[in-house]
């Protein structure tokens, strides 16, 4: 007798029949009926109509029947919340049962009934179970807290369950510890800043002890939790590594990978000359290799992670090239990943082997894989200079096979090789030209056209070749059209006499007959260049091209660092930071590698994150007030040069968001000119050029007064400081906050946007002195609601010093009076847009807190 019998009664009265059986007096019959109900449920049939009948079977001594009813309850309680209440009593009773299995079962099931009303009743039994004498019950209760938190987070916090859960980390039973860690980690995920898992050396020690004794799954939770800890020094780091290393020999691959994560992270803190560092590096390789002999799905995840590891620490696997050789019956997703890692590991030492393999793959059946293998040969050539010649000859061999897609891929990569090693392999052009007719993919056609244009002087019939492409100009893709236009212009500049007609033809095709704005614009630019100044045209079109970077396919270093901290997670499979794709993870904390004692490995990571400019309130007063506070803050040294206050530089654009370009900066007013002082740092692997800057319209009409003066290309890891003069005559638009400035910076890679806030004090102009009389009149004129007051705290300056200091920032003292021991300073400020702001500063001797009253005459100005 098998369960398939439960599916045979699909006739009309099925539900009715079941109802009768559920209400039968015979235990056996009842159980069979519940089984039938469960069976229907598992295949997705709706049996919710039987809810009251099934719940009636709950009060029973038969554990199997009880479990079955619980299974049903968990599935349908949500749809029948009122009915589910009926079950509460039984749960509460079961939580007191002498049998720990029943207590645990009750608390476990109750947590799975996602009905708000039930959760209230759950609190008391749960509290008891969290302190139960039986560890099996405690460990079940720990998970139940996570369940409850998912349903009603507030309730869990109010009831203090989180603290109880934290206490369980010190439980004597390792399984309880593991489950508490798992539950806390899950809860912490929805509260990124809650600091639930507050790790300190003591709790780390407890976790490490539990690590040795708990189940494989518990080990994963504990290791993942350990990875969030930042050791105090290299000795602590080493001792944790030593205790985690044995996990590398675990049979469960998830345990192994989580251990690798902890080691990769903590290794960062070890001094490189330490013997242990070398030992650890050696220990990492074998388990990673072993992961590759597991099931293909495990291999895939392992390979995605190894891809990160070889980028971070290529030394670990540099001798293990062969394990990445592709096997005939590997699934395609494994093949592609292996190929990628082979290229990353390719070096002068093993390039011969790699090339032989790649050539073998190029004759495989799977087209995608073959294409990628051909591309890989090109990447080898660019990566390992000594191998370029061999790569080119391998590619030529492949072109001889005349297999269409192989030829096309080969031409695309040969173009890159030409760019990397100009004037070296042009002898092969003839062979390439033979295959012109077989190219039908845009990328390959564009590559071929580029080659013809670039080397037009060496190809006798270059004009004929390009002309042949021109015939079907409008049917080509944009990529090919643009390339063709450029190539013909190049040809014309090289051989002006024979090709005049051709160039005119292509220019008119591009400018008159095309709807594509890019193509038209490029056409017009060429046209004007050629007609006005052919010499300049030559300089532009035939300019020396920057070398293509061999590492363009590497993950950007700051992202890589973050991903290393996420080894073994989905983020590591997608090679994206978790904030980019995990739903509901608003404000996920960026993890970063610890900074090692003697390692400058992660430059400015700290500065890059989280240093978002403080959010300023929206009214004018607050920024001014804040600015005033800052002006005083500068105080202290009497001998300080008189000058406007300059806030410290903050990071405006982290490298993560701008493909490696990091911008930090500040604003200053020097000699009556507002200046934006920028520090540009290139954290990418390639050279950055062609910088330009633009502002969005803003409250005070700030605009760059000149171009961004970055003349030399910015090499990797180079930093440049630029000062950009600003004018205040640009278009005006009210911003929120008022002093917000949206900036766009462009370079050869992309355009990036960021916004920053400038201190209002920068806008105070030099001619802000006001006649006493005018001041008095104006002060009186100011309507009350245009006035506001606030306090500046903790300033230890006397009124004269303050007055001097403020004058440096163009805040002028107009009058001073002393009333009842208080100094009153009356001051005027003129903003760049001509608005006057008047201020009264009350200072009490001995009291470091000043009161400022601000007023302005112009209506609505404060609310601008």
């Amino acid at each position: 007798m098998t369960d398939s019998k439960y599916f045979t009664t699909t006739k009309k009265g099925e539900i009715f029949e079941l109802k009768a059986e559920l209400n039968s007096d015979k235990k056996e019959k009842k159980k069979e009926a519940v089984k039938k109900v469960i069976a229907s449920m598992t295949v997705g049939k709706d049996v919710s109509a039987l809810f009251p009948d099934v719940v009636n079977c709950m009060q029973t001594d038969n554990l199997e029947l009880k479990k079955l009813v619980y299974l049903y309850l968990m599935n349908y309680a949500k749809s029948q919340p009122d009915m589910a209440i009926m079950a509460v009593n039984t749960f509460v009773k079961d939580c007191e049962d002498p049998n720990p299995l029943i207590r645990a079962l009750a608390v476990r099931t109750m947590g799975c009934i996602r009905v708000d009303k039930i959760t209230e009743y759950l609190c008391e039994p749960l509290r008891k179970c969290l302190k139960d004498e039986d560890p099996y019950v405690r460990k079940t209760a720990a998970v139940c807290v996570a369940k409850l938190h998912d349903i009603n987070a507030q309730l869990v916090e109010d009831q203090g369950f989180l603290d109880t859960l934290k206490d369980l980390i010190s439980d004597s039973n390792p399984m309880v510890v593991a489950n508490a860690v798992a539950a806390l980690s899950e809860i912490a995920e929805s509260h990124p800043n809650s600091n639930l898992l507050d790790l300190n050396p003591q709790s780390i020690n407890k976790l490490l002890t539990a690590l040795n004794e708990c189940t494989e799954w518990g080990q994963i939770f504990i290791l993942d939790c350990l990875a969030n800890y930042t050791p105090r020094d290299d000795r602590e780091s080493q001792s944790i590594c030593e205790r985690v290393t044995p996990r590398l020999s675990h049979a469960n691959s998830a345990v192994v990978l989580s251990a690798v994560k902890v080691l990769m992270k903590f290794m960062e803190m070890l001094p490189k000359d330490l013997d242990y560092y070398g030992t650890l590096l050696k220990k990492l390789a074998p388990p990673l290799v072993t992961l590759l002999s597991a099931e293909p799905e495990l291999q895939y995840v392992a390979l995605r992670n190894i891809n990160l590891i070889v980028q971070k620490r290529p030394e670990i696997l540099k001798h293990e090239m062969k394990v990445f050789f592709v096997k005939y019956n590997d699934p395609i997703y494994v093949k592609l990943e292996k190929l990628d890692i082979m290229i990353r590991l390719a070096s002068q030492a093993n390039i011969a082997q790699v090339l032989a393999e790649l050539k073998e793959y190029a004759t495989e059946v799977d087209v995608d894989f073959v294409r990628k293998a051909v591309r890989a040969i090109g990447r080898c050539a660019i990566k390992v200079e000594q191998s370029a010649e061999r790569c080119v000859s391998t590619l030529l061999d492949l072109i001889q096979t005349k297999v269409n897609y192989v030829v096309q891929e080969a031409i695309v990569v040969i173009k890159d090789i030409f760019r990397k090693y100009p004037n070296k392999y042009e002898s092969v052009i003839a062979t390439l030209c033979e295959n012109l007719d077989s190219l039908d993919e845009p990328e390959a056609r564009a590559a071929m056209i580029w080659i013809v244009g670039e080397y037009a002087e060496r190809i006798d019939n270059a004009d004929e070749l390009l002309e042949s492409f021109l015939e079907g100009f409008h049917d080509e893709s944009t990529q090919v059209q643009l390339q063709l236009l450029t190539a013909i212009v190049k040809l014309f500049l090289k051989k002006p006499t024979e090709t005049q007609e051709l160039v005119q033809q292509v220019l008119s095709l591009a400018t008159q007959d095309s709807d594509n704005p890019d193509l038209r614009d490029r056409g017009y630019i060429y046209w004007r260049l050629l007609s006005t100044d052919p010499v300049a045209a030559k300089e532009v079109v035939l300019a020396e091209k920057p070398l293509i970077s061999e590492e363009t396919d590497l993950i950007e270093p700051t992202l890589l660092e973050e991903l290393i901290c996420h080894i073994g997670t989905l983020a590591s499979v997608y090679h994206k930071p978790p904030s980019a794709f995990v739903e509901g993870s608003r404000g996920v904390m960026h993890k970063r590698l610890p900074l090692g004692g003697d390692i400058g490995g992660s430059p400015a990571m700290g500065a890059g994150f989280g240093a978002a400019p403080a959010v300023m309130p929206a009214s004018l007063n607050a920024p001014v007030g804040g600015g005033l506070g800052d002006l005083f803050d500068l105080g202290g040294g009497v001998g300080m040069p008189m000058g406007a206050y300059i806030p410290p530089k903050t990071v405006w654009l982290p490298a993560m968001k701008a493909k490696g370009l990091e911008i930090s900066g500040t604003f200053a007013r020097r000699a009556g000119v507002i200046q934006m002082e920028l520090v540009l740092t290139n954290k990418a692997m390639s050279v950055m050029t062609d910088f330009a800057i633009q502002f969005n319209r803003n409250s005070f009409g700030l605009a760059p007064a000149g171009p961004l003066q970055v003349l030399t290309p910015l090499g990797p890891n180079q930093t440049i400081e630029v000062s950009l003069p600003l004018s205040t005559v640009g278009p005006v638009m009210k911003m929120d906050p008022l002093n917000n400035l949206q900036v766009a910076v462009k370079n050869n890679i992309d355009v990036f946007y960021f916004s920053c806030q400038y201190p209002i004090s920068m806008l105070f102009v030099e001619d802000g002195k006001m006649e006493r009389q005018v001041f008095l009149a104006t002060w009186k004129d100011i309507p009350n609601d245009n006035e506001s007051q606030f306090q500046i705290q903790d300033c230890h300056l006397n009124s004269d010093a303050a007055s001097n200091k403020l004058q440096g920032s163009n805040i002028f003292t107009i009058a001073k009076r002393t009333v009842e021991g208080q100094d009153m300073l009356y001051m005027a400020i003129k903003l760049s847009n001509g608005i006057w702001v008047l201020a009264e500063l009350k200072m009490q001797a001995g009291n470091p807190n000043y009161t400022v009253s601000l007023g302005t005459r112009r209506d609505g100005e404060q609310h601008y």
Partner: protein
Amino acid sequence: MIHSLFLINPSGDIFLEKHWKSVVSRSVCDYFLEAKEKALEPEDVPPVIHTPRHYLISIYRDKLFFLSVIQTEVPPLFVIEFLHRVAEMIQDYFGECSETVVKDNMVMVYELLEEMLDNGFPLATESNVLKEMIRPPTILRSVVNTLTGTSNIGDTLPTGQLSTIPWRRAGVKYTNNEAYFDVVEEIDAILDQSGTTVFAEIQGVVGACVKLSGMPDLTLSFMNPRLLDDVSFHPCVRYKRWESERVLSFIPPDGNFTLMTYHVNAQNLVAIPVYVKQSISFFESGSGGRLDVTVGPKQTMGKTVEGVMVTVHLPKTILSVNLTATQGSYTYDNGTKLLVWDIGKLNPQKLPNLRGSLSLQAGAPKPEENPSLNIDLKIQQLAISGLKVNRLDMFGEKYKPFKGVKYITKAGKFQVRT
């Protein structure tokens, strides 16, 4: 953590669903089915799929897809490992893992899944713990149950659940105490056209069948443990003893389990037991070609190579084959283009050969790809790496157990390029 599980057969029907949190509509599987449509073979479906609201992590095993739904950041290996455990559990309980078996035991599978995960956290995945809670079906038991009305569900707390040795229950008793170990080695290798080894490594498994009473503490030592490049142990093995003395010291689980896996990838240590001489060529004219394959023994350490089988993936444009085998028999499936030559035992005096002509579909050009050969073989009583068990000692119990070790070498992914 793991939200839901769906079992899907190769034609795309969902035949079981289990949710550990709120119910996720089965329409989420559509993303997976779409990916499955795109893949050429079921094996090629990517194991991690991103949908707008969930992640789908799947494995393909025993011709079934095990698909899990994830909503938050979870280590994917954790999920994949768990899915394999589910498959192993079904295999363990019902003898095989197939759609029929699952459908026949729907309720029990469902109960087991409920025991394995709680709120997506693994609860009990050790086979012996599960078996104490839900007893596997046997004919005798079902008869007894019907007569007495008792059930398959245990009502005591499984003893292994919380002890520091969760893999073993207390109070095990046997009349015959025995411990058997199988050392199984698989050779993964790629040989090139000329027969040179491009890549070779050995994947070894020490499997155990231990039926000993009480709480035996075993120590297994090898003659040459330094051969092993990397080892992974069952949680029962004491890592410290291995680190310091290179012996396996452990309290074994009851019954069948994998004690350790290892691999040997030092190239020079990997002996290749057979050689293959082959030539597969196609005429320039494109009308057909010839095939000639000979297999012979190489480094076999004096043992006989058995169960030899050669599988050739022929190009798609092949129409038919006309071959003669001097030993064994061959089959050719025109649908999958698979040529399988079952040789059997290798006789060093008379080498088996398969030769003949291949004909192409009319008008088809000379095939572009090179076919590749996969070799299967088996050698009894030999671990090709040379690994040997030295001795097995038992402490903690007084009786004398029967002991035994068996060695076997097989071909894993053994591929010859042409």
